[in-house]
Amino acid sequence: MSLKTMKKSTRSNLITFGIVIAFYLIVSLMSVMGMMTSSFAGQLVPICAYVVLAVSLNLTVGILGELSLGHAGFMSVGAFAGTLVYTLTFENTPLPVSILLSFLVGGAVAGIFGLLIGIPVLRLQGDYLAIVTLAFGEIIKNFMNALYLGYDSTGVHFSLKDSASMGLAPDGVVLINGAMGITGIKKASTFTMGIILILLTLVVILNLVNSRAGRAITAIRDNEIAAQSVGINITNYKLMAFIVSAVFAGMAGVLYALNFSSLVAKKFDYNTSILILVFVVLGGMGNIRGSVIAAALLTVLPELLRSMKDYRMLIYAIVLIVMMIFNQSPQIVSWRKKITAGFKAKRAAKKEKKEAA
C-alpha cells in the first residue's frame, strides 16, 4: 500500500512512529560518534518517561476531555510498586525478566488505582473531577511519605509512624523507609527501554483512539448527553480511558524510578502533574504527536538554556494562559476564523481569475 492510498489516520500514526524511531537512531548515532554530552545522556531516560506521561495524560485530557491533576500520583504508585518488585527479584532472576516483571507490576498496580479512583471520581464532572484527582495525588504523596515497609523471617511488616514501630526482627530488611523512600536501587533503565515503552504506549493509545472505543470516548468529550442518548455506556468508556492512562503513567514511573539510585515520594507532587499538563497543552490537547514532541523538547530545552532556568516555570505559566486564551476564547476564535476565511476567499478569487484567463 503506498503512502497516498493509506487511511489518513494510519499515515499520521506512521509519521509519529517515524519521529520516535528517527530520534532513537540520531541519538544512537551521536553516542557512537562520541558527540553526546553527559548532561544530555542523563536526560534521555527522563525524556522517554515524560513522553509516555504526556501521551497517557493526553488520553484523559485531550481525548476524554476530563482534567486530571493527579497524574503524578499514578506515576508514584507505579514507580514504588515496580521498584519494590525489582529490588526483590533482580538478584535471583535474570535481569530482563526482573525488569519486565517490575514494569508489568508497576503498570498493573497503577491501573488498579486508576480503577479504584475512577469508579467514584468519574461520576463527577468538570471542576470537581479535577479537584478530586488533585486530592488523590496529594493523598498518595502523603501516604507514601509516611509509609514504612520491611520484611523479616516472620513476614512483611509495615507502619505509618516510623521504622522502629514496624517491629522488625534484627535480620529484617527495610524496603521503604518513610520520607527517605527506597534507597540503593541498582540503576537499570536504558534509553532503548524508554524508546520501547514509548512505542508500546503509542501503539496502544493510537489504536485505542482510532477504534470504535476511541470514537465513543471522543463522542463523550464532545457532548456527553448526546453520546448517552445514542447508547454509549459513558461510565465504561470513561473508565477505560482513565485506566489505560493510569497504566502507562505507572510504567513511566517505573522507567523513571529505575534511572536513579533512590526513589522518594516527594518527586511526584502537584508540580509534576502540572508539568505534564503543560506538555499536553503545549503539544495540543488531543494531538498525540504534539505531546511527544512537546514533552521531549520541553525536557531538553531547559538544559540547553541554563541561563533562563529561573524563568522556566514563569514562561510555562504564561504559555498556559496565552495558549488557552488564543485557542479557546470565543472572540479570538471567531476573529481567527474571519482571517482564515479572508485568505480562503482571496485564494478562491485568484483561482477563478486564472481559470478565466
Partner: protein, 293 residues
C-alpha cells in the same frame, strides 16, 4: 482540656479556611469557574502585610487595609486579563488558565522575594487569654481570627441579601442571561465578586500567617486547595456553607493532626473531600442543579 485546646485551634484554622472558601464559593457561584489562583492571591496579600508591617513598621490595621487594596486590584486584573476573554469557553480551558495564573503568581513571587521562608510578624497585638487556672490558653491570634471571621460572615450575608448590588450578584448566579436582560451589568458584577473575594483573601492571608508565621511563595497553595475542599464540603455557592465547611474542615484537620498522625492529616482532609463528593456531591448546604438538554 487538651482536647478543648485542639478544638479551639481547629476552629481558628477553620475560620481562615472559611474566609478563603468565601472567595471560592462566591466566584464559583457567580462566574461558574474554579479560581485556582485564589490561594496565591492570599500569598501575595501576606507578602504585602509582611513588608508594610514587618519591614516598614506601618500600623497593623493600615497594613492589612493596604494589602486588601492590593489584592482587590490584583483580583480584578486577573479576572479582566485572563478569565474574561474565556467567558463562554469550555470549562476545561478556564480551569487550565486558572492553574496558569496560580503558577504565574507563585513564580513572580519567587523571582521577586526568593523562595526562602520569611518569618512573619503577627499583626495581632492581643495578649493570650488564660482560662481554668492556666490549663487552657487561647492566643490572641485565635480570638481575633474567629471574631474576624464571624463579623465578615455576618456583614457579607447582610450585604448580599439587603443591598441592590447584592441582589444583582444573586441574580447573576441564578441565571446570567436573564440577569443581563433585566439590566444587571454582568461584567461589573463579576468584577465586584472577584474584588470582594480577593479582599477577603488578604484578610485571611494576614490572619493565617499570624498564626502560622512562615511565608514563602507556596504558602497560599495548600490552604487555597483546602479552602476549596471546605467550600465543596459546605456546598459550593452557599455562603453559610463555606462557613460551616471551613470550620468543620479546620477541626477535622487539627484533631487528626493531634490524634492520628501529623504526616497524614492532609491525606485525611482530602479523603473527607472524596467521601463528601461521593455521598452528597452538592455538599452540606448546596442545591442540586439538573442539567437540561
Amino acid at each position: 482540656m487538651q482536647f478543648l485546646t485542639y478544638l479551639i485551634n481547629g476552629i481558628s484554622l477553620g475560620s481562615v479556611y472559611a474566609l478563603i472558601a468565601l472567595g471560592y464559593t462566591m466566584v464559583y457561584g457567580i462566574a461558574k469557574m474554579l479560581n485556582f489562583a485564589h490561594g496565591d492571591v492570599i500569598m501575595i496579600g501576606s507578602y504585602v502585610v509582611f513588608f508594610a508591617f514587618g519591614s516598614f513598621g506601618l500600623n497593623p490595621i493600615v497594613s492589612v487595609l493596604l494589602s486588601m487594596v492590593v489584592c482587590t486590584i490584583l483580583g480584578i486584573t486577573i479576572e479582566r486579563v485572563a478569565y474574561r476573554p474565556l467567558r463562554g469557553a469550555p470549562s476545561l480551558a478556564v480551569l487550565i488558565t486558572a492553574i496558569g495564573v496560580s503558577y504565574l503568581l507563585q513564580q513572580v513571587a519567587q523571582l521577586l522575594w526568593k523562595s526562602d521562608p520569611k518569618s512573619f510578624k503577627s499583626v495581632v497585638g492581643l495578649q493570650p487569654v488564660s482560662m481554668f487556672g492556666g490549663q487552657l490558653v487561647i492566643s490572641g491570634e485565635t480570638i481575633v481570627t474567629i471574631a474576624a471571621c464571624i463579623v465578615i460572615m455576618i456583614a457579607l450575608t447582610l450585604f448580599i441579601n439587603h443591598t441592590s448590588t447584592g441582589h444583582a450578584m444573586l441574580a447573576v448566579s441564578e441565571d446570567r442571561g436573564a440577569a443581563q436582560l433585566m439590566g444587571v451589568n454582568v461584567n461589573a458584577t463579576i468584577s465586584l465578586t472577584f474584588a470582594i473575594g480577593s479582599a477577603l483573601a488578604a484578610v485571611a492571608g494576614a490572619l493565617l500567617c499570624s498564626s502560622y508565621p512562615t511565608l514563602q511563595p507556596t504558602t497560599g497553595a495548600m490552604p487555597g486547595i483546602k479552602a476549596f475542599v471546605a467550600a465543596v464540603f459546605g456546598g459550593i455557592g452557599s455562603i453559610p456553607g463555606a462557613f460551616i465547611g471551613g470550620i468543620l474542615l479546620g477541626v477535622i484537620e487539627n484533631l487528626s493532626k493531634a490524634y492520628i498522625s501529623t504526616q497524614l492529616s492532609d491525606a485525611i482532609v482530602f479523603m473527607v473531600l472524596i467521601v463528601v463528593l461521593l455521598v452528597k456531591p452538592t455538599g452540606l448546604l448546596g442545591k442540586k442543579i439538573n442539567v437540561k438538554v
